[in-house]
């Protein structure tokens, strides 16, 4: 990767061609410049070429404008993270140049728009500078307008040349994206793209070719985590949802609002967060598990109704796209600080299911799992994704939709009798019959938030309360016995075990690889089921001297993060320690490696 790119020569003559396995490109500009579009095209191309890809972006929490970056890592081998440092920095403005040169590897290439960027002499020896008047060349290429709209596509042409990218595939992607009512839009895009590709800067630079990736022969789909969640929900058979817009959850509700009617479903935009969770619960009660979702403060607002769902044993899926908190917090930054509210949020004893996807593929498949757990166990399922995975683009094998898509239309066959809260039920698991179902003994159930007898009628009996509390607990204990024990990444015995959850699996695995390459004894596990936890983790922990819980939240009053606290409470094992941070950005591999080392020295 970097080593091959670092050998750039600025001497004259024909550019030499180097073969590479992977590259990290950081594109820096303003949010309205369409830099996400460049990254998106690169990611999609990688998917179509069966390369692995991962992206990382930051967006300002302003409506338009403000500095923004998009980083894409494309590789012919396994890609676990979006990369710590970039091989190439493409920058459109002076602020993008000065703000992001620090994230470029030494001897990396800085490709800058010389219309807006004045390179600094003191950086010339550290980085290979390639200046191209991208803005004016774009205007020249498209013609007839003084605006530089389209410079992102011009830059895409430059990158295509530099990395010998597949032109027909890129042209096809452009035409898919820009074909619309006005043919001039596509023509302009192609003109800018070809002009960028044909550009031969005087400052001749090296070009690169990716080594052929291993062809698995399975078509790839390329999407971000939010898209994967939305389509997973649809594949699971959910046909009703309700929500209120909030960043970064909103994309999911927009997709569901647009898509669900095609499948005979509806997604309703509500007046507030509480109405959304209530409406979703109404639809679940009416017969078919529904979905709601939110981020940050919205999740806080939903907690009372989630408690009702626990008490009434009503299936529900709540998607929490975590962002920086507390309160309004950092709406466009990454954090994993909603584990506590996910597991414990609400008053009283209210056991519920909490799961967390580790990558974009998981977002799709685990959304289906969330729906099925909610249905089977009659319980709310909190689905903890985060801002990082929400906007991260990855490629994964196209799912076999014919096999995967579920029909969960409810059954209205009359039943002789029905106890919605039957204390004698196997594993304490019960399901509601739906309104519309005739109950032949004439006793109809009430779904309720009051403590209740087996028919759902109020009961103030302490004995009943204890039995029903136990019922709500026991069904999740039964679930725990079915959960797979996570696979260990690396040897099953050693010095350090890193434990992660949610979107951090990639950097943790790469930290393991890097540490082992340096001779350190490090392994990792990744938890997808947070509440209940799978049984048997203690057997894994016993193979290591240190167990470090790696998470993006605060170290807390007692020195470990939110999952760390749960694991400490469960296992009472002082070797469980926390590695945490709250800088609002994804983990860099080197941060994990260094924090683990410094923890050992403590």
């Amino acid at each position: 990767m970097s080593e091959t790119i670092a050998g750039v020569s600025s001497s004259g003559g024909a550019p030499k061609v180097s073969r590479i396995n992977e590259v990290v490109i950081r594109i820096a500009g303003n949010s309205q410049d369409g830099i996400q579009a460049i990254g998106g095209f690169l990611a999609r191309l990688a998917g179509r070429s069966e390369q692995e890809v991962m992206t990382f972006m930051t967006i300002p929490s302003t409506i338009s404008g403000g500095p923004s970056i998009f980083q894409v890592r494309i590789g012919s081998g396994e890609v676990l993270t979006a990369g710590d440092d970039a091989d190439v920095l493409l920058c459109f403005y002076q602020h993008s140049y000065e703000g992001h040169i620090g994230s470029l590897k030494k001897k990396g290439i800085v490709l800058y728009d010389s219309d807006h960027v004045t390179p600094k002499p003191e950086w010339q020896s550290d980085y290979h500078h390639v200046g191209i008047p991208i803005s004016s060349l774009t205007v020249e290429a498209i013609g007839g307008t003084a605006k530089d709209k389209g410079k992102n596509i011009y830059a895409l042409g430059l990158l295509a040349k530099m990395f010998d990218l597949n032109m027909p595939k890129l042209e096809k992607l452009l035409s898919e994206r820009f074909t619309g009512k006005d043919p001039s839009i596509l023509n302009n895009a192609l003109a800018a793209f070809h002009a960028g590709h044909a550009n031969s800067p005087t400052n001749v630079f090296e070009t690169f070719q990716f080594n052929e990736p291993e062809q698995k022969g399975i078509p790839q789909v390329v999407m971000n985590g939010n898209e994967a969640v939305a389509y997973g929900i649809i594949a699971a058979g959910v046909r009703f949802g309700a929500a209120y817009p909030i960043t970064p959850w909103t994309d999911i509700m927009e997709i569901l609002r647009r898509e669900l009617p095609k499948y005979g479903g509806s997604f309703i935009q509500c007046e507030d967060e509480i109405a959304s969770v209530s409406m979703a619960l109404g639809a679940s009660f009416a017969g078919r598990v529904a979905v709601t979702g939110s981020s940050g403060p919205g999740i806080s607002l939903k907690t009372e109704a989630i408690g009702w769902a626990v008490m009434a044993e009503m299936p529900l899926v709540v998607i929490d796209v975590q962002r920086g908190g507390p309160s309004t917090g950092m709406p466009t930054n990454i954090e994993q600080s909603d584990l506590n509210i996910g597991v414990f949020g609400g008053h009283g004893d209210s056991p519920r299911v909490v799961i967390a996807p580790a990558n974009v593929k998981d977002c799709f498949y685990m959304a289906i799992e969330a729906v099925n757990l909610a249905r089977k166990y009659s319980v709310p399922v909190i689905f903890l994704t985060d801002q990082g995975i929400a906007t991260r683009i990855e490629a994964f094998d196209e799912p076999d939709l014919e096999k995967i898509c579920q029909d969960i239309t409810p059954d209205f066959t009359p039943v002789p009798t029905h106890k919605p809260y039957d204390l004698a039920a196997k594993d304490s698991i019960t399901q509601h019959v739906k309104p519309g179902t005739r109950i032949l003994d004439g006793r109809y159930p009430i779904a309720t938030g009051l403590e209740h007898d087996e028919y759902g009628h109020p009961s103030g009996s302490p004995k009943v309360h204890m039995l029903q509390n136990a019922k709500r607990r026991k069904k999740l204990q039964a679930l725990a016995t079915t959960l797979p024990v996570p696979k260990i990444y690396g040897p099953p015995e050693g010095n350090i075990l890193l434990v992660g959850w949610g979107s951090t699996e990639g950097p943790i695995r790469e930290a393991v690889d890097r540490s082992r390459a340096a001779g350190d004894s490090v392994s990792a596990i990744h938890l997808r089921h947070i509440n209940p936890l799978p049984n048997g983790l203690e057997n894994i922990f016993s193979g290591f001297n240190h167990v470090f819980i790696v998470e993006m939240n605060d170290e807390g009053l007692y020195g470990y993060g939110q999952l760390g606290a749960v694991l400490r409470a469960r296992y009472c094992d002082p070797k469980i320690q926390g590695i945490t941070k709250t800088d609002g950005l994804t983990w860099k591999v080197k941060e994990i490696v260094e924090l683990a080392k410094s923890k050992l020295r403590q």
């Binding site: 499948y263 109405a275 639809a283 009416a286 017969g287 799912p399 029909d407 159930p445 009430i446």
Partner: protein, 311 residues
């Protein structure tokens, strides 16, 4: 059954039509569930009895009724009715009921609420459920006091009402529920009183037959904490029960607002009733249009088309 359930559902769920051939209408005994926990003399008894009457009269089956409530004295209602029901959280019965209504066009959705539940903690939902014209009936049993928590000021308590949270008399101006309902776009707005059973039944029946959001403001005396609150509207207690004049045009919004604005005891009957497409119908239209583009395709094939664009 002469019901006005939508023929054009959002097809989230297609429940089978109930076979009615050999079934007799339900008797009161079959409809009644738990014995009500209300205090003797509470106005809510009358409303419950009239709901039973409505079910009997209209031959509604157990399984086709959903009775939904929030929290408060009034909101104990579902436990007393032998039908599918939900006792939800405080103030949120309306969005919950909306979730049922929007996904189940085959059901009659009734929400029962009180003045605190509907206009205080649930005020926002009252506004938005009404303006969206979601098909259901909301009956608010207004006693102008918090009863379950034992006499605190409610959003409909008159100025000067002495409660445990206003020992010197209430200082906040009360809400006029009918005026508010008209202003926020409810398509059926009526007022009745538990002390006039025939009027309650007729009003609930008209509300049920309305294709849209129907709101019934029903005065219901709390004999424990606000005795005599509605005597002025009860002829048996020396008051007057003024029915809305037959000449009133129920589609005239301004006239309705004026009638609803008359000082207590004011007028009883239907203030406002207009036909506007419901949200249920509009969402169904969207579905029909979009589904029309995928006729004959299975769900997985539709999704596969979307995925093809993400390759």
């Amino acid at each position: 059954m002469s019901q006005t359930l939508s023929d054009n559902p959002i097809v989230t769920i297609n429940a089978p039509e109930t076979i009615t051939g050999d079934r007799k209408g339900l008797s009161k005994k079959e409809i009644a569930a738990d014995h009500p926990t209300w205090c003797p003399g509470c106005g809510d008894f009358s409303i419950l009895a009239l709901y039973f009457k409505l079910i009997e009269k209209r031959k509604l089956w157990h399984e086709k009724i959903t009775t939904i409530s929030g929290i408060g004295c009034s909101s104990r209602f579902p436990y007393f009715v032998q039908a599918h029901g939900a006792h939800f959280i405080h103030g949120r019965a309306l969005p919950f009921a909306a979730g049922v209504s929007l996904s189940r066009p085959d059901l009659h959705v009734f929400a029962f609420s009180g003045d605190g539940d509907a206009f205080s903690i649930g005020g926002n939902h009252f506004t938005h459920t009404a303006r969206k014209n979601i098909k259901m009936t909301l009956v608010v049993m207004d006693n102008q006091v918090y009863g379950l928590t034992k006499k605190q000021t409610s959003p409909t308590s008159p100025v000067g009402f002495k409660s445990k949270t206003d020992i010197w008399g209430a200082v906040d101006y009360p809400i006029n529920p009918a005026k508010q309902a008209i202003a926020v776009g409810a398509t059926f707005v009526a007022r009745t009183s538990a002390s006039n059973p025939n009027h309650v039944l007729a009003t609930m029946e008209a509300a049920m037959d309305h294709d849209g959001f129907s709101f019934v403001h029903c005065l219901s005396e709390c004999v424990e904490f606000y005795e005599g609150a509605f005597d002025a509207a009860n002829p048996r207690k020396g008051g007057v029960f003024n029915e809305i004049p037959k000449s009133h045009d129920v589609t005239d919004e301004l006239a309705a607002y004026k009638l609803a604005n008359v000082d207590f005891p004011g007028n009883f009957g239907i203030f406002y009733k207009v036909n506007k497409p419901t949200k249920n119908a509009r969402e169904a239209e969207i579905n029909a249009t979009l589904q029309g583009k995928f006729t004959g395709q299975k769900d997985w094939q539709i999704l596969q088309k979307t995925f093809a664009r993400m390759k």
